[in-house]
């Protein structure tokens, strides 16, 4: 990925030299043209085209915003309901993510969405212990995290 971005910057610099114009505008045009060129030749790269990963990051961010608003409304309902009907508890989540930064990102996202909070991570990085403010159905909660956040993070880190 780093190589592809470097190549793209190099192509943009090449475009600036061809145009004999060293302004930011020429650089951006050259960058876009270089991106188009690389898109056409993407099967010659050993890794996938880096824009896929950029798109995956944007998708993860949008997903996070959606979950943030949704979960905030849930907590709002809990706080403002006249009787405390919640059933808090700690459940374990087995994660398939391997590297440190993936697990860090996942637990940060889980903690940022209201209603769930990572309390501890097991020593082998495989299990997250999550405190939920209202456990409805554990299997469902685990599934929803696995299908949304974990999948999106895997999409980002896939080669």
């Amino acid at each position: 990925m780093a190589f592809q971005i470097l190549l793209n910057v190099f192509l943009a610099a090449l475009w600036m030299f061809l145009q004999v114009s060293f302004s930011a505008r020429t650089f951006i045009i050259g960058y876009l043209l270089g991106m188009l060129l690389m898109l056409g030749m993407r099967r010659f790269f050993t890794e996938r085209f880096y824009l896929h990963r950029v798109w995956a990051v944007i998708y993860l961010f949008l997903l996070f915003l959606k979950e943030l608003v949704k979960a905030n409304l849930d907590v709002l309902k809990l706080v403002l309901s006249p009787k405390l009907k919640m059933r808090p508890g700690i459940f374990a989540l087995e994660t398939e993510l391997k590297t440190d930064w993936e697990v860090t990102l996942l637990s940060n996202l889980i903690t940022l969405t209201p209603g769930t909070l990572v309390i501890d991570v097991s020593d082998d990085n495989k299990t997250l212990y999550i405190h939920a403010i209202d456990i409805g159905d554990v299997a469902e909660a685990v599934d929803s995290i696995k299908n949304s956040f974990e999948k999106a993070i895997m999409e980002v880190s896939r080669r």
């Binding site: 943030l68 608003v69 979960a71 905030n72 907590v75 709002l76 809990l78 706080v79 403002l80 405390l84 919640m86 059933r87 808090p88 508890g89 700690i90 459940f91 374990a92 637990s107 940060n108 903690t111 940022l112 969405t113 209201p114 209603g115 909070l117 990572v118 309390i119 501890d120 097991s122 299990t127 212990y129 405190h131 403010i133 456990i135 554990v138």
Partner: protein, 119 residues
């Protein structure tokens, strides 16, 4: 045009302060450390984000300044808030603070009791 921009700013500001109010309300109302931590560190994230966005739009529409520092403030808040929340509740759990008696389950207890048996 100013009516629309004013409306956007006012809506963001009101929603943000309402969420912060709810966070404070939940802090008083919830029964134990863990649930209070939810109210304090989580509902506040969206509240602070909305207030900062309102300030950002105010400067953008009224003074035509693209105030990138406010956006940076949101980003840094998103980085630091979960770490603080995680550490507070982890410290509480490790120093043995009891959970609310109506709590449903505790998967972490099993792990802790196993850890003690190991040397």
């Amino acid at each position: 045009m100013t009516v629309i921009s004013d409306a956007i700013i006012v809506i963001f500001l009101l929603a943000g302060s309402f969420l912060s109010l709810v966070a404070a309300f939940g802090l008083i109302r919830f029964p134990d450390v863990y649930t209070r931590n939810h109210a304090a560190s989580k509902s506040a994230t969206l509240g602070v984000m909305l207030v900062l966005l309102a300030a950002f739009f105010y400067f953008l529409f009224k003074n035509e300044i693209f105030s990138s520092r406010l956006l940076l403030g949101i980003a840094f808040f998103f980085i630091t808030a979960p770490v603080a929340g995680h550490l507070i509740s982890r410290a509480a759990y490790n120093s043995g603070v009891k959970m609310w008696e109506k709590s449903v389950q505790d998967d972490l207890k099993y792990k802790k009791s196993h850890e003690k048996k190991l040397p």
